[in-house]
Amino acid sequence: MAKKFKCNICGQTFEADSMPDKCPICMADASNIEEVVEAGAQSAPAKKGIDTNSNVYTILYAAVMVVVVAFLLAFVSSSLKEIQDANVLRDTKNQILTSLNIEGLSGEAVDAKYSEVIVDTLDCNGNKYYQASVEGATKYVFPVKGRGLWGGLWGYISLDEDKLHAYGAYFGHESETAGLGARINERGFQQQFQGKSVMNAEGNIALTVVKAGAVQNEDLEVDGVTGATLTSNGVANMVTDGLNVYRDVIMAAPAAGMAVEAEVAAEPADSVNNGETN
């Protein structure tokens, strides 16, 4: 397609297939030649009398665009918020159930199973945790939060009634790398936590994640995700520090036996009731 060029020295316009080396009329250097933009698509509105390159038009266009887009996004967001919130709530319930190794539910079955399994919401120094009853056995679910490579991490770790061993775990992430860090969301990684000990011999919370293949203490350590060291470290910190928040509850149980444990469980339940009446 032939393009139009204008020489700034002699002021002539001429046609050529591509930028010529010299002006064919006055032989001026190519640096003096400008391509003339075809009066095609862009000048169509100009025929109607609007100059799309004028400052006023540009500013007005930007202003209108911003208002239209803002209105559109606000409208979409507010009209869908209710449905989205319901979905998020249900998803949270599903995650808690997954940490109790109850999987594969969807829709209303999640709500039904959740209200059947989760019997109480307890409190430890202002942090909520849940008491669950799975096939007659009492379990506790502890929510934990942490930082991954790109964004937040969260998880639910369920412990047996004696709070010595993990029963299951669930991890979620905001924006870890797909195929690498995001694999903490896969069940294969999460199921490694089943049956692990929570505390080491000194009585500190020591359940953690180590580099894949570098597990030394099978009882306390879990294989990380290959190629996602930083995300794995994030999970390690989240599990260890996160459970440490509940140390009063977790420590109390094995040291003092079942009687005290029942008391500990009963106390926070009272405080929750107080909170509701107030």
Binding site: M65, E174, G179
Partner: protein, 207 residues
């Protein structure tokens, strides 16, 4: 029908798949090719998402092309893409929540994909909506096949699986075969993309 698929429109659709491929010829979209190709499934999802978003962003920009002020056209393109992706992800979150959780990781990668901006600037700004739509589909698929090829190699040799299913038999591991940890690293995908470009260019000498 013949007008809808004229030679020019067919070229807009099929050119990017081979001779004018956005990844192997124009070397665009490499950043996301590194990020999502360590396994096959994310590579497929990312390829399809980019295809859909490029096609519809192309159509919108093509419809607006005569009104867009020249000096702020990149900003307008960016706003259109970002708004489109945000609205789509909001709709998914409301109506197919599971899919939106799967896709949430890709939203940022789609908005910043160079192929999208490249097609909006190079094609949709000068073309009618229908060819722009075909061009978006073509470029998205051209991007997708490279991602799938890279994802295939990386998952097979890095994890011994494809789409999560074990492919390399256990007997081979027993004989001492090991998954290649290097394949999982982003650096390896750059090398594989390089190999794909090499193979593609030596097959198409004249291009």
């Amino acid at each position: 029908m013949s007008k809808l698929f004229s030679a020019e429109n067919r070229e807009a659709l099929t050119g990017p798949l081979n001779l004018n491929n956005p990844v192997t010829v124009q070397v665009l979209g490499i950043c996301s090719a590194l990020a999502v190709t360590s396994q096959l499934a994310p590579a497929i999802v990312m390829g399809l998402s980019v295809t859909v978003i490029t096609a519809f962003a192309n159509v919108i920009i093509s419809l607006l092309r005569n009104t867009i002020p020249n000096r702020i056209r990149i900003i307008v393109q960016l706003v259109v893409v970002a708004a489109l992706v945000t609205i789509v992800s909001q709709l998914l979150k409301a109506f197919v929540y599971d899919v939106s959780v799967q896709l949430s990781v890709y939203v940022g990668l789609i908005i910043t994909n160079c192929i999208l901006m490249g097609r909006l600037e190079a094609f949709a700004m000068q073309s009618a909506p229908w060819p722009s739509f075909l061009d978006g589909i073509g470029n998205g698929l051209g991007y997708a096949w490279v991602l799938v090829a890279v994802g295939f190699v990386r998952e097979l040799f890095g994890f011994g699986t494809l789409l999560g299913f074990q492919i390399v038999p256990q007997a081979l591991y027993d004989m001492g075969y090991m998954n290649n940890g290097m394949m999982v690293m982003p650096a390896m995908s750059l090398i594989i993309v390089g190999c794909v470009i090499w193979a593609h260019r030596s097959l198409n000498k004249e291009a």
